[in-house]
Symmetry: C2
Subunit: 247 residues, 2 copies
């Protein structure tokens, strides 16, 4: 047996999310079907760094699985890319120690969120960024992002359905980079709660538009109530960009 780690990209548009669900097309489902084909029908369970929702993309999702096939890493990559549907791409394959686990070994994750602010609709990016055609105060956005950094209880910034008790997370980096037609948010943290990036982005866009004060983040955090924060930004602007592991 070997443990295989893969970095994968996927276009979330036509998936009902990462995790297997009966009668739905999922990323995990496609990966496991492809691995079953390579293992004479035998089930190979895939573990990921975490789930992504329907419509959410991944540039650098990390998965692992165990296999008795003796293929060098490059052959794994070629075989998987040849068999997987064209909305999943394996970017890198490595053989790893059995102590590695895609989820439990992760030390940090990076998410990005892409916004198009240009007024005109763009047909080519309609599934790949959120069209938010409003003038945004970038200084107010940067001020708000600064208040997101650090260790906080993010109860106000996760779905009210979140069952996890411990909602304290540490955000190492929270920044917004202006681009030609819009804005890209970048968040690096030791963990993210359900819908957390989308609620942060939704709230910060309201700040950027002047609907909320630039210094409102600390009081929203303190209130520990989802209703204090802004709307949940739509899934199609969000990318799981990178998963970090020690060395």
């Amino acid at each position: 047996m070997k443990r295989i780690k893969c970095i994968i990209s996927y276009d979330g548009t036509h998936f009902a999310g990462y995790q297997v669900q009966p009668n739905k097309r999922t990323v995990q489902g496609e990966l496991e079907q492809t691995l079953a084909k390579m293992h004479k029908g035998e089930m190979v369970r895939v573990a990921a760094s975490g789930r992504t929702d329907a419509g959410v993309h991944a540039y650098g999702q990390v998965i692992h699985f165990d296999s008795s096939l003796l293929l060098p890493a490059e052959r794994w990559q070629k075989a998987l890319n040849a068999l997987l549907p064209d909305d999943i791409v394996v970017r890198d394959v490595q053989e790893v120690d059995f102590s590695f686990h895609a989820r439990f070994s992760a030390t940090a994750k990076e998410y990005r969120y892409k916004i198009r602010t240009a007024e005109e609709q763009d047909v080519f990016s309609r599934y790949y960024c959120y069209h938010y055609p409003y003038a945004l105060d970038i200084e107010a956005i940067k001020h708000a992002l600064n208040a997101v950094k650090g260790t906080h209880d993010f109860t106000s910034f996760c779905s009210a359905k979140t069952e996890i008790e411990d909602r304290v997370r540490t955000i190492y980096e929270a920044e917004a980079i202006s681009s030609h037609n819009g804005l890209e948010f970048r968040f690096v943290g030791n963990g993210f709660l359900y819908n957390m990036v989308r609620i942060l982005v939704g709230t910060i866009l309201e700040i950027g538009q002047g609907k909320r004060e630039a210094d409102c983040i600390p009081s929203i955090l303190q209130g520990k109530d989802r209703r204090l924060a802004g709307k949940t930004a739509p899934p199609h602007g969000l990318y799981l960009w990178n998963v970090y592991y020690d060395n």
Copy 2:
């Protein structure tokens, strides 16, 4: 009656091309169905600057139609965008004189062709540029493009199925712009034959890769034989970018 001119974008991925065909999803078909809805079921014929093939995109296709509806241009744009499928976007609407014709009034057209040369597959651009992961000699490409400019008989650079007798066209601009991950070709001319841009790009990529000499274009043109030119590049890198009219 009013004549309405629209500039439209479409993502060609899920269309069997621009022109109406029985039992196929086409851009013209979607436009005419939408206009019929707005005209109580009455057929409204749409004329375009020209066709595009299955998988080919448009950033700036131009169409016109005649309507008895008395809507200001902005209302036309909103109504059409609300009713059209999300892979067609109306970028601009203008009321024009009846002497205007989307096809016959056009004085020039611009096509662009996008290439990704980075080795790694990119899942997000798989339908929007041609993945050609080879080192390209940009100087050789520019030399070849220079030879394309001017007035030539393009018989060697159109599909052997072309029925039009007069294959003389004038290319005003032919250039390649290097970008972060690849290359963008740009062609402006008074007209383009069937598959002409895709055959030009296919041939010039072979030059860029060193499979053909940089100065081979004049002799290919002189031979007036499709078999002398290179492969037809795939449709999904191609964009009808702009249609030019006097004033």
